[in-house]
Amino acid sequence: MQAFTQLTGITAPLDRANVDTDMIIPKQFLKSIKRSGFGPNLFDELRYLDEGQPDQDSSKRPINPNFVLNLPRYKGAKILLARDNFGCGSSREHAPWALLDFGISCIIAPSFADIFYNNCFKNGVLPITLLNEQIDQLFSDTQAKPGFELTVDLKDGVISGSSAGDIAFSIDSFRRHCLLNGLDDIGLTLEQTSNIQRYEQKRRQQAPWLFAD
């Protein structure tokens, strides 16, 4: 997993609550056997005017000119600003995969759905929860200035760039540690390599039938 330490990028405002995982990545794209390549279909039904099919060349499809990520001023956005209950719906890990593949690795919202929130950390995406007033402030910042950028510093727990000054945020220390060091669960478990090997040695003696010769 990519470490997440500091990120500076254009911030796009998605002004709707209860954005569900079906909206983030519609079900017809789950048939893919990959974890990557979902970017062109992120928010597919909002982003395009036609119905998307897997294996289609999305660059030739009619785009919805009003959808926030299609507006020139938010081109190349790396941070997504959203409303309550972002990521509700199914447990599909395809949702964070699609965001990441598109280039968004930080989402700022007043609240997130549980499973989506967890899935983000498994994939190097940082979901930040702020108060409604702070979110409102950031929304108006993005309106005020084309190309508005924020800087998110996970180490210090600070978002800077807002006209209202720095905004502090907090993340549970275990998850923060994993993100800062680019440790997914696997990376973390691999820190225990010597413990696992010791266990295997002991186990091989106690239960040799579980091991090939």
Partner: protein, 474 residues
Amino acid sequence: MASKTLYDKLWDAHLVKQQDDGSCLIYIDRHLLHEVTSPQAFEGLRIAGRKPWRIDTNLATPDHNVPTTFNERAIGVDGIEDPVSKIQVVTLGDNCDEFGITEFKMQDERQGIVHVVGPEQGATLPGMTVVCGDSHTATHGAMGALAHGIGTSEVEHVLATQCLIQKKSQNMLVRVDGDLGEGITSKDVVLAIIGVIGTAGGTGYAIEFGGKVFEDMTMEGRMTVCNMAIEAGARVGMVAVDQTTIDYVEGRPFSPKGEKWDLAVVAWQDLHSDADAEFDHVVVLDGATIAPQVTWGTSPEMVLPVFANVPNPAKEKDDIKASGITRALEYMGLVADQAITDIHLDRVFIGSCTNSRIEDLRAAAAVVEGHQVAKTLKQALVVPGSGLVKAQAEAEGLHTIFTDAGLEWREPGCSMCLAMNADKLGAGEHCASTSNRNFEGRQGFGGRTHLVSPAMAAAAAIAGHFVDVRTFNL
């Protein structure tokens, strides 16, 4: 030493390390894979440049997507008509080849539903931890193993580290005392248990099934019961090891041999809960009171004896329950107080990881022998759980009993259990099914599933509606 439950013993034997926050690193002895939940896990390994930790613990077979018709299967992978199914099956093959993982490919006689294949091969053994990216992994708990389903990220985690980060569950004992009546099967027992404790009754628990009924039960029967632990909300179901277990395991291809076998059998003697072990929760049923079960609704807990009538929401005092009954009756196209034996069927499905083993097929064949499937039925499918089950059934002549009676005899796979291949229900159709889930749309959009035992499904196929298998044929 403090006394322990079977679950405690299995857990302690696999604990690599306990972290300060209570999360534990648990070692995995056997990892089973299939085509649906593994592709992204393999891709994850590739992206991170990681290798599987211990190749020989992994065993794969395609099951969910494989077609079950002879013609499609005869051609091999190229014969799979659905392009998406084909890609998943091909990808599993490619991944297993690339990483050197043993796979029983679609045309291998050992291919089948992963939860049938594991025990059949001796790949899941007493005392093991067994995981698979599939919630019905609890099946393997019948061997006295600690077995549960995992998600795609965890599939990758197990491939890369041979471990999982887990929190320990609580202990529940479900004890069924006494003897089962004539014609009552393990499926009826587990459906009756779910009827009592509910689909969330086991949430947060590891369930051990104990008591005389399970001691007397065959291994295949125990697998049927553990398979449905997840339908009672528990990720883990298990049965203590006894002579029945050891006799079943002996001589299977992956089972230990020679000196290792002798050592294993000694160690396995301890795989039971200590006499004075404490459970956090105990449920007791009397085996003699269990009748043949039929689910009438859209959740496995909506289950009743075959001679009962479906519930009437007007008689239910709890408003939430009443509206649940109303909604289920409506989806199922049933009328309040209707007799279960008056439910007419469109299709019958005998198969799935719950009931597609040789004993299940024998039970179904014994019922249909010499009869004809009701003319009102559109289809009656028999789908063996593995190529080896199929071969055994054919050696016993069961397939001709089925086809003579008008049932279709298919190639092994998950088939109509979840309708990911071409075998599915049409909207509004009623199906007597030996599978494990009767959720809305599970067997096809708008389809209506009734869960029953193989013998009950077979009798229903002949009668065209549900009948009490105990009086059928008298």
